[in-house]
Amino acid sequence: MSEAPSEGELVRLALKGDERAFGSLVERYQRAAYAVAYSVTGRHEDAEDAAQESFLVALKRLEECRNPDRFGGWLMTIVRNRSKNLIRRESLRATEEIPVSTRSRGLMPDRVTENAQLREMLEGALRQLPEVQREIVLLHDLEGWKHREIAEMMQLPSGTVRSHLHFARKTLRAALGSLPLGSQILRKVQ
């Protein structure tokens, strides 16, 4: 069995137009890119657009990635910038919010309502966090990234990441617990 190619190798192959290598990079980082974009935009549709656009921008500017072994960190910088640009554009357009019911498909109606309520609660709680804490808590507790990996990707000391995570969790628990329906819905969902 051959060993999986390193990130640097995948980047070098993608530079030559290797579809499979670029596909592997997309698979490796699509969830993290979405989480980072979501932590900036706070909306599924915007996070999706920003994450997708970021992969294309990254591919077009792949020569600018000075350290191919740290592609992830470089990509996340693009994701953050694209997300901020998107918010700026969106605020100019001031589009209407997409109805909550259209976001989650394939679930039972009561489940959809519960999830929609929890989603709204979480979105509200996440909005109370600084952007950096939102990003860390989503990458760690939703995507399962390790402190070391997050620190490397965000170019922050590992201790700072831990401290941000600690405060983010504290704020989230307080925000979710203070909501009237919060604990009830959370118990049901769990």
């Binding site: 579809e19 591919l59 989603r119 989503l138 507790d141 390790k146 769990q190």
Partner: protein, 138 residues
């Protein structure tokens, strides 16, 4: 040694907050749509296909690539030519090969005529005889 590494990793990590992880999962788009990430990847790959194709083409058309493909044809030919030249230079030349020289009429008039091409009656021995003959007559 693995257990040491695992312990170090655990000490380094705060660990995942299970309760919060379950709650946050609501934000994962694949929760209500299991094929979401496969489609996400496909969207990106479809949009990236033209750029990937451009990159493949650029690799084929680089100067280095052109030189490489060129050298593939030129080097064997140059080598063969060099070998042939060396072989020709080293082969023993025939000493008895006669080189015929074509001489034009004007050149013949201007140039000194080699002794051996002069008619026999003009050779020095013969002229001596002629002079002697003339002196006998006059």
């Amino acid at each position: 040694m693995d257990w040491i590494k695992r312990d170090e990793a655990r000490a380094d990590d705060l660990g995942r907050d299970g309760e919060l992880a379950v709650q946050l999962r609501v934000l994962d788009p694949s929760q209500g749509d299991p094929s979401y990430w496969v489609r996400f990847r496909n969207w990106v790959m479809t949009d990236a296909s033209s750029e990937l194709a451009r990159r493949r083409l650029a690799v084929e058309l680089t100067v280095e690539g052109l030189l490489e493909s060129w050298s593939r044809a030129v080097i064997p030919v140059a080598l063969a030519a060099a070998v042939a030249t060396i072989a020709l230079m080293q082969s023993p030349q025939a000493d008895d090969t006669k080189v015929s020289v074509a001489i034009g009429v004007e050149e013949l008039l201007v140039r000194e005529i080699p002794v051996e091409t002069q008619p026999v009656f003009l050779s020095s021995d013969v002229t001596a005889g002629i002079v002697a003959f003339a002196s006998d007559i006059y």
